[in-house]
């Protein structure tokens, strides 16, 4: 390894590896055997081929901001891609960019700014997370309500399979026939190989933007207002909800955004597009909120106020650090009409287990983030948090939802997969994975519970007998 990337970029000592034993989600610690950080495409290829030759499992990792334990390497090699930070090209006419996997999300948007373009998927961690990680996780973000998730913005990928073979998926030069392996790769959580570069779509900056904040005296009213906005046919660029515990955490922090601390919930809404007609849509949003019982609706007067309103939302997870030492950031999706009753159910679960649930989420998509501040060093509290989480997931599944909308399965949600998929469906996923990585060396043990892979289970039992 050292011969490929240089000694400085291979870490072996436990003290050096400490920062790589966790990702954005507390509660899991896994020790990699070593961590290697190639700088160039050729170095990545050489490293992956060496790993293939030696038959060593590995975990690709971007910035490690993931929230599902997906980038943890348990006794195997951690392949860090955060040194491949070049934006290889920007094509302003065709509105695409070719980037290396370690490019930080927001840096792409900054680079596209002179052309009046931006990269639309905007996870809250966009100041740190990488495009490669976004591709692996099929990352979302507040503005995905109107603009779509990572899947909808990746045009082509050059990848290296765990076997060391190179292949390309999708095309930047027009359509390509064949199966949609590009679509299958996006969101494969590092289990299908490593992207060497990604061609992504850039979006035009909207001519006009209006950001509104509506505050409600009950969570239920805010949830119903959300449903009526979606049902009325307005597609806001973003429609976010924050409940009272979240508002208070934000307002007590350096990210104080001026949210009313006595509100039960606020809706942060944004519409964008052509300037013409935008005020009329904003007025319609305001009217829908007021009809739904909003106490007040205010429209950001300038860019500064707009940025401040958003800062509070994007840094809400960080702000919760004031409340407690650890935070479970959960992620689930429900049909949008079920928001009021599922939020009620979650509140009930919180009361039952004597924990605080802070809801800050993408209401317009029905993508919930029930977050629980707690102390991971308190076994009793940790146990209650775990039980509550299971019940929250079950409630979302019972409402016709999914166990993750944008954070991925990783390690954290493996046990929930069987709540939504049959054995045959899970086995099919294993087969899909086997097309890319028949030896299951890339990010082993993630996404699909191992016992659900029929072929693999059979192979093991044969070996044992």
């Amino acid at each position: 390894m050292a011969a490929i990337v240089g000694e400085r970029h291979v870490l072996e000592r436990p003290s050096e590896l400490l920062v790589y034993t966790a990702d954005g989600l507390p509660g899991y610690r896994k020790q990699p055997s070593l961590a290697v950080f190639p700088r160039t495409r050729d170095e990545v290829i050489a490293v992956v081929r060496l790993l293939a030759r030696e038959n060593v499992p590995f975990v690709p990792r971007g910035a490690g901001t993931g929230l599902s334990g997906g980038a943890l390497a348990d006794g195997c090699v951690l392949l860090g891609l955060n040194r491949l930070t070049s934006i290889l090209s920007i094509d302003p006419v065709n509105r695409t960019a070719v980037v290396e996997p370690g490019v930080v999300n927001v840096n792409l948007t900054k680079a596209a700014m002179p052309y009046g373009l931006h990269y639309a998927p905007d996870p809250s961690s966009q100041a740190a997370c990488t495009i490669g990680g976004n591709v692996a996780e099929n990352a979302g973000g507040p503005h995905c309500l109107k603009y779509g998730v990572t899947l909808n913005h990746v045009v082509a990928l050059n990848i290296i399979l765990p076997s060391g073979e190179l292949t390309s998926l999708g095309s930047a030069d027009g359509e390509r026939d064949g199966y949609d392996f590009l679509g299958a790769f996006v969101g494969s959580e590092g289990c299908f190989g490593v992207a060497l570069d990604a061609t992504v779509r850039l979006s035009r900056n909207p001519e006009g933007v209006r950001t509104l904040l509506a505050d409600f005296m009950s969570v239920d009213a805010a949830a119903r207002a959300t449903s009526s906005i979606i049902g009325a046919g307005i597609v806001p660029a973003a429609l976010e909800m924050m409940d009272n515990p979240t508002i208070r955490a934000v307002e007590a922090s350096i990210y104080a955004a001026g949210y009313p601390t006595d509100a039960a919930a606020v809706l942060l809404m944004e519409i964008d597009g052509l300037e013409a007609g935008l005020d009329r849509d904003a007025a319609m949003l305001e009217a829908l909120c007021r009809e739904g019982g909003a106490r007040d609706v205010r429209i950001a007067r300038d860019e500064r106020e707009r940025t401040r309103l958003w800062q509070g939302r994007k840094k809400a997870f960080g702000a919760m650090g004031r409340v407690s030492s650890h935070l479970v950031v959960q992620d689930a999706v429900i049909p949008r009409t079920r928001l009021p009753d599922v939020l009620n159910a979650i509140a009930e679960i919180g009361r039952k287990h004597r924990i605080t649930v802070c809801n800050v989420f993408h209401a317009g998509d029905g993508n919930l983030h029930p977050n629980i501040p707690y102390n991971a060093n308190d076994p009793d509290e940790s146990g209650r948090v775990y039980l509550a989480m299971r019940e929250v997931m079950a409630a979302c599944v019972a409402a016709g939802g999914s166990v993750t909308g944008e954070h991925g399965i990783g390690l954290d949600k493996l046990e929930y997969m069987e709540l939504i998929f049959s054995n045959d469906s899970l086995d099919a996923m294993c087969r899909l994975r086997a097309l890319f990585d028949p030896d299951r060396r890339a990010n082993p043990g993630k996404v699909v519970p191992v016992h659900a892979c029929r072929e693999w289970t059979m192979a093991v039992s044969t070996r044992v007998s």
Binding site: N152, D173, E175, D177, D180, G183, G233, G277, R336, L432
Partner: protein, 387 residues
């Protein structure tokens, strides 16, 4: 229910489909099945040889539709037209607009993944599909995705099967994303320059103008006159929004060339404009190359009469429709187009395929076929003559 020797099989439900597939897989050498939804693509020039038609006609009807969720789940063979009528009553629409006939079904639309002018803004079928239920080549029922609009749980069986033409599994049920109908819509035709350099600039101006169009589709003179809009090349722009927004967009278009309003039904008529028995293919490159592709297509078609050509400005895709009975001219046309950009065959006689569809022979594609249809009994030959 079904025995070999019948002319076709008509399962009543997913369980029936499973049983048929299991039986077919168990037959020595496999019994070939040809999946039939609305039957729109049976003459696509892709022979599914010696196969028994498996007609999904009975797998029809809505499974779940809650308007406020803006999603809809239906059995595979539910006609799209029926779904459009249903959701329109709630001010919504299904954003699938593949070129084709009125018999198109939701399952067929996802399996074939065709798309039309709307794809530039509302996305392609892969972006519209949220979940599928399917029966694999071994007769197992699997589900991918779900009924919610955002979902990253597990590896993506939905994307794998959308556009797979039923070769990795038979879609028996599908969930799609819906959209709310815009308050105001208008369709405006703008005259197009004929000289390539001027056309290039005009297309660039259209793409960068302050517009929020649902579609921008170029039509050649043959197609424009067939649709009774014009006798020269034009671009149809479908603008949407509230009244002010549409008014502003109209003004922008007027500054870009001669315009006229076109009745809104032109989009439905365009969707059904392929003449009976015609051959069709798509040609694509980067959007910036569209004027060049358009010119190359015209040159390549110069000696063939009545070729209908239309192109998606935002995606840079040209679609070429050649009337039936021109098989001698097709082969050289395909070669000429293939030297200008990437050609995807839609309906094309078997002898014209040449090297088209090569990606279906890639190691990943062959592996997928083997993994999900080990008996090679599902729609063999439908992807390309060699696949």
């Amino acid at each position: 229910m079904t025995t070999v020797g019948e002319k076709f099989l008509t399962p009543r439900d997913t369980a029936d489909v499973c049983e048929i597939v299991r039986e077919s897989f168990a037959v020595r050498g496999g019994r070939q099945l040809r999946i039939v939804g609305g039957g729109s693509w049976l003459d696509a020039g892709r022979p599914v040889l010696d196969a028994i038609p498996l007609r999904l006609t009975n797998l029809a009807g809505v499974v779940e539709y809650i308007p406020g969720d803006l999603t809809l789940t239906a059995h595979a063979a539910t006609p799209l037209a029926e779904l459009q009528r249903l959701v329109r009553a709630h001010g919504q629409w299904v954003p699938l607009d593949a070129m084709g006939n009125e018999h198109a079904t939701v399952g067929g639309a996802l399996a074939t993944a065709g798309y039309g002018p709307l794809s530039a803004t509302v996305g392609r079928p892969r972006d519209v599909a949220l979940g599928v239920e399917l029966v694999t080549g071994e007769g197992r029922v699997i589900r991918g995705g779900g009924r919610v609009v955002k979902n990253v749980a597990g590896f993506d069986m939905v994307r794998l099967n959308v556009g797979a033409w039923g070769t990795l599994g038979i879609i028996t049920e599908a969930t799609v994303r819906l959209r709310a109908l815009p308050t105001v819509e208008a369709t405006i035709a703008v005259a197009l320059a004929s000289e390539i350099e001027r056309l290039t600039n005009q297309l660039l101006a259209l793409r960068s103008a302050l517009l929020a169009p649902l579609a921008m589709e170029m039509l050649n003179a043959v197609l424009a006159s067939r649709l009774d809009i014009a006798t020269a090349d034009i671009v149809l722009v479908r603008v949407a929004g509230n009244e002010e927004s549409v008014r502003a967009q109209r003004q922008v278009l007027e500054s870009l060339g001669d315009t006229c309003d076109v009745p809104h039904d032109v989009w439905d008529r365009l969707q059904r404009s392929d003449p009976e028995g015609s051959a069709s293919m798509r040609l694509s490159h980067r959007p910036s190359e569209l004027a060049t592709l358009w010119g190359a297509t015209k040159t390549a078609c110069a000696s063939i009469v009545d070729v209908q050509v239309h192109a998606n400005i935002e995606r840079g895709i040209v679609r070429v429709v050649v009337p039936g009975g021109m098989s001698a001219e097709l082969q050289p046309l395909v070669s000429a187009l293939a030297s200008a950009g990437h050609v995807i065959a839609e309906r094309l006689p078997v002898q014209c395929w040449g090297s088209l569809g090569a990606d279906f022979a890639s190691p990943l594609a062959v592996g997928a076929r083997r993994a999900f249809d080990p008996g090679a009994i599902l729609n063999r030959g439908v992807l390309a003559p060699h696949a």
